[in-house]
């Protein structure tokens, strides 16, 4: 396998920033480097031919973004997190609002937002909740809209759902067609999928609950710090922010504007504007 040095990584991120207005300059170095090596291997490119392709072939950027981003996800990932959602967080939001809004930032292929929709449906409040699901990668958003997954992924999803202790079986929510699990589109009726970049994008709405799990691990600390400010602005006072189980925000400037509601599941609550 070829190697790539920091100077070359900088040439790539600068070009992508200048020409396409995507800013990967503050992504975590180790995983970003592996993504670049992976793209180069998959597309049979060297650093120079990659730079040339990015310069000469504007459409290549979408393929580039799709390969660069890590889209690995699961339904009901961390079942214990979802149980806390169902038993504590959503009920506490419902104490004050019948209708509320949720944002899935970095929704990838949609498994997380679909899990949320199923949970809300089982709680009988599906129709009262507005969901936004955003990602930088437009190809993955298409897959999320389709809500169609290879059956080989369903074994894990089913396992997670069982550990979540849902009140049906996951099979009740999809039909199998040619080796794919096609989810019932009604589940997504209140979901708006849209392209949004957490790094350069503006705050676009206010939410009661934001999920951004396993997205900021791809950012370095200074970028995590900036993005947390955006989440702070996107939350109503006393709104909740959920991050991945192995993420931490304690070193961010805005950490003191949140309290930890559940440290194990990494659920925070905004307490100060």
């Amino acid at each position: 396998m070829q190697d790539i040095d920091i100077a070359d990584l900088k040439r790539i991120t600068e070009l992508v920033y200048q020409k396409y207005n995507y800013d990967f300059r503050n992504y975590a170095m180790s995983s970003f480097k592996r993504r670049m090596l992976r793209i180069m291997e998959l597309k049979k490119l060297t650093v120079d031919t990659l730079l040339k392709k990015l310069t000469d072939t504007p459409n290549f950027i979408y393929e580039f973004l799709d390969e660069l981003t890590v889209n690995v996800t699961e339904m009901f990932r961390d079942p214990s997190f979802w149980r806390v959602m169902r038993e504590e967080i959503i009920p506490s939001i419902l104490l004050n609002h019948k209708n509320f809004k949720i944002w899935h930032a970095g929704c990838s292929s949609g498994e997380e937002v679909l899990s949320m929709a199923i949970m809300l449906k089982e709680m009988g409040i599906h129709q009262d909740v507005t969901l936004f699901a955003t990602d930088l990668d437009i190809n993955i958003l298409e897959r999320a809209r389709a809500a169609t997954y290879h059956v080989k992924n369903m074994e894990l999803n089913e396992k997670n759902y069982i550990r979540f202790q849902g009140n049906a079986t996951l099979k009740d929510y999809y039909k199998e067609e040619n080796g794919y699990a096609v989810f019932n589109k009604d589940l997504l009726m209140n979901v708006t999928f849209r392209k949004h970049d957490l790094v350069l994008g503006e705050v676009f709405n206010k939410f009661d609950l934001v999920l951004c799990r396993n997205v900021m691990i791809y950012f370095n600390q200074s970028l995590q710090n900036e993005v947390l400010k955006k989440f702070h602005e996107s939350l109503f006072k006393y709104g909740y922010l959920c991050i991945g189980s192995k993420e931490s925000l304690i070193w961010c400037d805005y950490a003191s504007r949140f309290i930890v509601v559940n440290n194990e599941e990494k659920i925070y609550k905004k307490i100060k504007d």
């Binding site: 995983s31 600390q221 192995k246």
Partner: protein, 197 residues
Amino acid sequence: MSAIKLNNSYKAVVIGGSAGSFQGVIKILSQLPKGFPLPIIMALHRLKHVRHGFVEALSIKSVVQVTEPYDKEAIKKGGVYLAPANYHMSIELGNYFALSTEEMVNNSRPAIDITLGTCAYVYKEKLIGILLSGANRDGALGMKNIHDKGGLTIVQDPAECMIETMPKAALAVTEIDHVMKVDQIVDFFKELDKQYR
């Protein structure tokens, strides 16, 4: 032991292991000299969807509490770290951890190659890499990275391994400085510790 030339220039130890490595890891951690000065960074294959139990099981006998680092957590001298379930664990320039959920590598997440490879990149010749028993080839390339950067490489003696595939794969792709039984690795840590006193 006397054949091994040791010094106090090392900055970290990284350990990879899979099937059959648990007992060895326990033995090493339970006999670690008190106040051992280097961080010990471990990538061990484990059940992907069981978040709890493993680090606790390792900690019971370990001299030092084992922790699963958070993303971007700083690496401390003398800390003993374990890659968390279902995440790859990298080391970044600047001496901190970075976690990721990328595709599995060698059918594994955490992948030993990723942890070993990034350690090699950051610590270069100041790294000691140890690969224990295991049933697949994960870790072999990582050991090669360590050797290529000038680090010290050790594998568990295949004759002693419950499953020898992993150390054998490493022996096949790169130069391994020492083949040791777990007891010898335990002594190695004691000798290494003396270099820093």
